[in-house]
């Protein structure tokens, strides 16, 4: 009974094999379904790639060619002049340093902002996930609501807040001045938050906080609670658990947060324009300046080169990080 393969059955089976289908179902390479799916995707890809293509092509053309030709046509004579000009020569007012100035400003804004905002948000997330205290959820809820408050509501009061807290810090620091001066050191000068790099870093930290905190909180919540308990039983405190247990475990989410912040801060325009001064303008503001400083005709090629240059950093980061970015967005967004 176990192996009921009598001769008859065997024969029968052979007959069946000769007649019936066997193995994988043959696939039509061009089933209607596939044709529809792939052609839709093809068109979609065109739509998404078109602007990039046009920007690149345009940035490589000379002005005469642009005026005559078709924006989709590849450059007849590729020139990198627009790129050079955008990077180093384009003028705003009498500054003709192009985007290069903005680039370094952006870098100097970016590094501390990313670092500080991630540091604070990750500690927040960690505290919210593992060290809930009375009211912590309330603050968290407010924070999340904050993510949806239009920036316009807060821009002006923050100007005042920055000024006042700058003055406040100044006052506190200057209390020490007599002593310092007595000791032969130079006293503290006036601390300015508004218009300074520090101010912008604070603003970015504040506005990055809701989303990042949410991201970190979700992540740390998904870390098994028992790990945290085990560490407590092992006698580790708040910071030790954070640094020795949580931090090493959460590299992926830190990478994700970093990508989000780098792109977010790099792309910021509103805060850059309001909370900085020309010396410290980030690249996006510089870009807007260059594009809007029309001298005679609009130099579309230079504008496009400048645009591409500005987008380059986030694009490079985005392409380099590839799947992580996607995973991070998904992890942070869907759970939230």
């Amino acid at each position: 009974m176990t192996d009921a393969t009598s001769a008859g059955v065997g024969l029968d089976a052979v007959n069946k094999e000769l007649t019936g289908p066997r193995g994988p179902k043959p696939k039509k390479a061009f089933s209607t379904n596939n044709i529809i799916i792939y052609s839709v995707l093809f068109v979609v890809c065109l739509y998404y790639l078109l602007p990039l293509y046009v920007m690149i092509v345009t940035s490589l053309k000379g002005m005469p060619e642009i005026r005559l030709g078709n924006i989709f046509a590849p450059p007849v004579e590729a020139t990198f002049q627009p790129w050079v000009k955008a990077w180093a020569e384009a003028c705003t007012g009498i500054n003709c340093e192009g985007l290069s100035r903005g680039f370094w400003n952006s870098v100097w804004i970016l590094i501390p902002s990313v670092f500080l905002s991630i540091a604070i948000a990750s500690v927040n997330g960690y505290a919210l996930a593992n060290w809930r205290f009375k009211g912590s959820e309330v603050f968290f809820t407010i924070l999340i609501f904050g993510a949806f408050i239009p920036y316009q509501v807060m821009i002006y009061p923050i100007v005042i807040l920055l000024r006042e807290s700058g003055d406040g810090i100044t006052n506190v620091l200057q209390l020490a001045n007599p002593m310092l001066e007595a000791m032969g050191f130079e006293g503290f000068g006036r601390v300015r938050l508004m218009g300074s790099l520090a101010g912008l870093v604070i603003v970015h930290t504040i506005f990055g906080m809701p989303i990042l905190t949410l991201l970190f909180r979700n992540y740390f919540t998904s870390v098994p609670e028992e790990l945290f308990k085990a560490a407590r039983v092992d006698g580790a405190g708040f910071w030790r658990i954070y640094f020795q247990i949580m931090l090493p475990m959460s590299l992926p989410i830190f990478v994700v947060a970093m990508i989000l912040q780098v792109t977010g801060i790099w792309n910021d325009f509103l805060f850059g324009v309001i909370y900085t001064k020309p010396d410290t303008y980030p690249m996006t503001v510089q870009l807007n300046n260059i594009v809007n400083s029309v001298q005679g005709v609009r130099e579309y090629n230079v504008n496009m080169a400048a645009t591409l240059l500005t987008g380059l950093v986030p694009l490079v980061i985005y392409f380099a990080s590839g799947k992580l970015f996607v995973r991070g967005i998904a992890a942070g967004a869907v759970k939230g």
Binding site: D12, A13, P24
Partner: protein, 359 residues
């Protein structure tokens, strides 16, 4: 022919990973066949092939003598029940039951009739207007079965339908399922990794390992005459005791003990000095008064006692080997006691050491 499902030379590979290899299996009409194996051995894969949810790499599948190798799942006359129930959460129970029928454009009253019948069989009439979210695990499981039931199919496929339930409920539903099978007499292919479930439910069990069927047989055959070491070890809890030694004619030698295997039914005459493994189930080791009746008797030292209520499991030292002995729940033994045990070789199994096959 009376086969309900026939699988011929089935191969299945994910990319270069061969999950099923040259698999042959015939399932009788009305049979309750359980696919049993540890995690990752390819049980679900095989079931999905039968259902048509996976495309085979090679081989053929017949259901009711029809070659369905290329057929769509819905054309195969199968119903399927999943471990996670896979109920449509936003539809009521009634919606869940009737969705497939509506889709097949059955007349309304026919749909109603079938839903009512399934609900009656499964005793879920009063739940018809609830959503799955408002059901307990067992009720959900029943709805999932109902969804297969209404479709009036020949073959039911179950993929670990009870694994998500807690122990008590699992036992209850197991009984119910068995009763349902008696009532409906459909062919059932049932995947599980729980050997108790397999033993209690199956007409026949196919023990799988690494994409191959190790043994196909009734629960009794599998339990008492495991065809190889793997099956012997996999089936039974507490598991079989194994002692390594050599087989010399009909004598099995372990260290300096000699066990005459005269009562054992060898599959073939044995060569002398063959390295072999003997397997003895804990419950086949007798103690107390019965020892005197056993052909072989040994003294063992009790190492550890596990009282389990109805039984007591004793871990005892037989020479350098640890030996599991199952005793009555009321037996009083303590660690360090010397215990007399008796073994009947006719209840034992012998395996070749190298091939691991039954001798």
């Amino acid at each position: 022919m009376s086969y309900s499902v026939e699988i011929k030379d089935l191969d299945l590979a994910f990319g270069s990973v061969k999950v099923l290899q040259e698999l042959n299996l015939n399932i009788h009409e009305g049979e309750f066949l359980v696919l049993l194996g540890s995690s990752g051995c390819g049980k679900s894969t095989l079931l999905n092939c039968i259902a048509g949810l996976l495309e085979v790499t090679d081989g053929q599948i017949y259901i009711k003598d029809k070659n369905v190798t290329w057929a769509e799942p819905s054309e195969r006359g199968i119903g399927m029940v999943f471990q996670s129930y896979a109920l449509y959460p936003q539809m009521t129970v009634r919606g869940n039951l009737s969705f497939g029928l509506k889709n097949a454009k059955l007349p309304k009253d026919e749909i109603e009739k079938r839903v009512a019948r399934a609900a009656e069989i499964l005793q879920i009439e009063q739940l018809l207007d609830r959503k799955p979210g408002a059901l307990s695990g067992g009720q959900r499981q029943r709805v999932a079965i109902g969804r297969a039931l209404v479709r009036d199919v020949d073959v039911f496929l179950f993929d670990e339908p009870l694994s998500n339930l807690d122990a008590k409920l699992r036992v209850d539903l197991r009984v119910e399922l068995k009763r349902l099978h008696h009532q409906l007499k459909n062919t059932i292919v049932y995947v599980t990794h729980d050997q108790v479930e397999a033993m209690t439910l199956a007409d026949r069990i196919a023990v799988m390992k690494g994409g191959k069927i190790m043994q196909l047989g009734t629960p009794n055959e599998i339990y008492h005459q495991p065809r190889n070491l793997y099956v012997a070890d996999f089936i039974g809890s507490p598991s079989m005791n194994f002692l390594e030694g050599t087989l010399d004619g009909t004598n099995f030698k372990v260290d300096d003990m000699v066990m005459p295997m005269s009562g054992y039914a060898f599959a073939a005459p044995q060569t002398a000095g063959r390295p072999a493994v003997i397997g003895i189930r804990p419950e086949h080791v007798v103690t107390g008064e019965l020892v005197s009746k056993a052909p072989l008797q040994y003294d063992v030292t009790v190492d550890l006692v596990e009282p389990m209520g109805s039984d007591t499991l004793v871990y005892a030292k037989l020479g350098r080997h640890l030996f599991r002995v199952r005793m009555d729940g009321k037996a009083r033994v303590d660690e360090g006691d010397i215990l007399q045990i008796g073994i009947d070789p006719s209840h034992a199994s012998l395996f070749d050491k190298k091939t691991e096959d039954r001798l």
